[in-house]
């Protein structure tokens, strides 16, 4: 059976053709049957989901339903869910049950969305392959020997395999867009501050942003409409009006200016991926957009800048895991310091510890100016490149990842090789900009992603171009094993 879209489900609910209970039972059944190999879920909450589905059906019967009421989705296990375990992919939080809902969870629940479970992820979102999860690797539904990308790898695999129609994700350096590219689905990371970070377990607070993984750009627009907006609980939440993303999808592309940075087509980009992205740009040009070469001269600094800023912020954020108030605790330490050290040794996995160590080092006495301060200056240069580009173009476009999905285990011994996977996605995080990845081809039977980056708060323009591309092509409908 072909994978449904969220918009189709929404329509079928509105006409009474189906119910939330039927959709939710079907999703739970697919997870039960199809997830043992993928390992895309850490927790499935069937009882809570069915209760929420019945409530959604009653709400619809009472004439109080919106477009999302009754749609079953999954949340990345980084979003706190009251009463439902939230692990962040870590042994440290294996038994953590949040006392409250993240704003993303609360807003979607208020719109009637049903949560069927929590998806697997790289531990504390630190990884690009979903191999650092304490709960095991996630497999790519296109080829079980390959990675689905990360860190939102569970969300991506679950949507690509059609277990759920959509899932939330977070993107600190590409963690929505890269797994979306590697699994052949649509992923959208909004502008920094567009969606509340409240209740989203912190990795690097100046970069973290919540978004969605879906089959289509239209589905993403429908979800973001409910997620975006000011939240007094997040001190960096943007107090800016949320436009109507769904209405904006219909604009035609005549006169849209798309900038293509030459730097994104470097030696590291697989030639066949480059060809698929060029083909996609030609499609957009055929629809009336103009394509112009641009330059982001400092974009080459983004990987080193990110791997200073993100670990520095992570080392600070993760200092809260001391075993005292919540999370794992080493039980029989002789003194307090030993308790901290053993709790953190046993509670964190290898990649998380490497990032904490890197971050601690670059912030330590004598090194701060050379590393962190210099990185914050380089970040300014990268952001300025984008600002300059958006004076002459509406959207920046290029590849999402340098290659299609790589093999599990291929990069685990060399952290720097793994980090280079984020080379095209990190810039948008450093500059705080919205970005998306959409399927634009297959190379050796594996999906390739086209990345779109918009100006700050330009989600509507990103979604519009993505949707128009999906009206003209059907790469987003290609399914694994089909």
């Amino acid at each position: 059976m072909a994978r449904q879209t969220l918009a189709q489900m929404s329509g079928a609910l509105a006409t009474g053709e189906t119910t939330s209970r039927a959709l939710t039972e079907a999703a739970l059944g697919r997870i039960d049957g199809g997830d043992s190999e993928l390992n895309s879920f850490i927790n499935v909450c069937a009882d809570e989901a069915l209760a929420a589905a019945d409530a959604a059906d009653q709400r619809r019967a009472a004439g109080d339903a919106g477009p999302l009421t009754g749609i079953p989705i999954a949340h990345k296990d980084i979003f706190c869910t009251a009463g439902v375990p939230t692990t962040c992919g870590s042994r440290m939080l294996q038994d953590f049950v949040p006392p409250y809902d993240a704003t993303v969870v609360r807003r979607l629940a208020a719109a009637g969305v049903v949560t069927v479970g929590k998806t697997n992820m790289d531990e504390f979102a630190m990884g690009s392959s979903n191999e650092t999860s304490y709960f095991g690797v996630v497999r790519n539904p296109w080829d079980p020997d390959r990675s689905p990308g990360g860190s939102s790898g569970g969300s991506a695999a679950a949507v690509a395999a059609g277990l759920v129609v959509a899932a939330t994700g977070t993107d600190t350096g590409g963690s929505i867009r890269q797994p979306a590219a590697l699994t052949g689905i649509t992923g959208v990371k909004p502008t920094y501050g567009r969606v509340s970070r409240y209740g989203m377990i912190a990795f690097a607070s100046s970069l973290d942003q919540a978004g969605v993984l879906t089959v289509t750009a239209e589905d993403a627009a429908m979800l973001l409409q409910a997620m975006a907006g000011f939240d007094p609980h997040d001190s960096t939440s943007a107090d800016a009006p949320v436009p109507d993303y769904v209405t904006a999808l219909g604009e035609d592309l005549a006169g849209k200016r798309i900038g293509v940075p030459g730097e994104f087509f470097d030696d590291g980009l697989d030639a066949e991926c480059a060809a698929a992205v060029r083909d996609a740009l030609a499609v957009l040009e055929g629809m009336g957009a103009t394509i112009q070469e641009i330059s982001l001269p400092n974009i080459g600094l983004s990987v080193p800048t990110y791997y200073i800023v993100a670990p520095a912020e992570a080392s600070s954020n993760l200092s809260r895991y001391d075993g005292v108030r919540f999370g794992y605790r080493h039980a029989d330490a002789a003194d307090l310091e030993e308790m901290y050290k053993l709790t953190r040794k046993e509670g964190f996995g290898a990649e998380v510890k490497r990032r904490i160590m890197t971050g601690t080092y670059v912030l330590s006495a004598g090194y701060y100016d050379a590393y962190y301060l210099q990185a914050q200056k380089a970040r300014q240069l990268i952001a300025a490149d984008f600002r300059r580009a958006f004076e002459s173009v509406d959207i920046v476009a290029g590849p999402t990842a340098p290659t299609p999905a790589f093999r599990l285990g291929e990069k685990t011994d060399d952290p720097v090789q793994m980090y280079l996977n984020d080379i095209y996605t990190i810039g948008a995080n450093l500059a705080g900009l919205p970005g998306a990845s959409l399927p634009c081809g297959l190379v050796n039977g594996l999906p390739v992603g086209l990345q779109l980056i918009g100006p700050a708060f330009g989600e509507a323009a990103v979604l519009n171009i993505a949707h128009q591309y999906q009206q003209a092509t059907d790469w987003h409908l290609a399914e694994p094993g089909a």
Binding site: P99, L301, V324, R344, M357, T360, Q376, V416
Partner: protein, 95 residues
């Protein structure tokens, strides 16, 4: 830049991470290769560049210092490994 094993032990102490003897060589190698990768930033001319404080150049918002939360101590303490009489228990700190 190459880190020494003393560097690794020092950083691990600052980060309150126990590092066992057999992990040190791996940390020395991998952290050194990460620092080599980020070292190229040192060659970038950033004279006169203002370090970025916020990705969108926004100021931090303030709110009135009003009490808005209720006391849910017992509820919140359910996530702790060891509590007694409403307090968090840890190994002895004061002799």
């Amino acid at each position: 830049m190459a880190l020494s094993r003393q560097d690794v032990e020092h950083i691990a102490h600052l980060a309150r991470l126990e590092v066992s003897e057999d992990e040190i060589a791996d940390y020395v190698a991998k952290l050194s290769s990460i620092l080599d990768m980020v070292a190229q930033l040192g060659e970038t001319d950033t004279t006169g560049v203002e370090p970025m404080a916020h990705p969108l150049d926004m100021a931090q918002r303030l709110r009135p210092d009003d009490v808005t939360e209720s006391d849910q101590r017992e509820f919140f303490q359910r996530n702790s490994a060891d509590v007694a009489h409403g307090l968090y228990r840890v190994p002895r700190v004061i002799e």
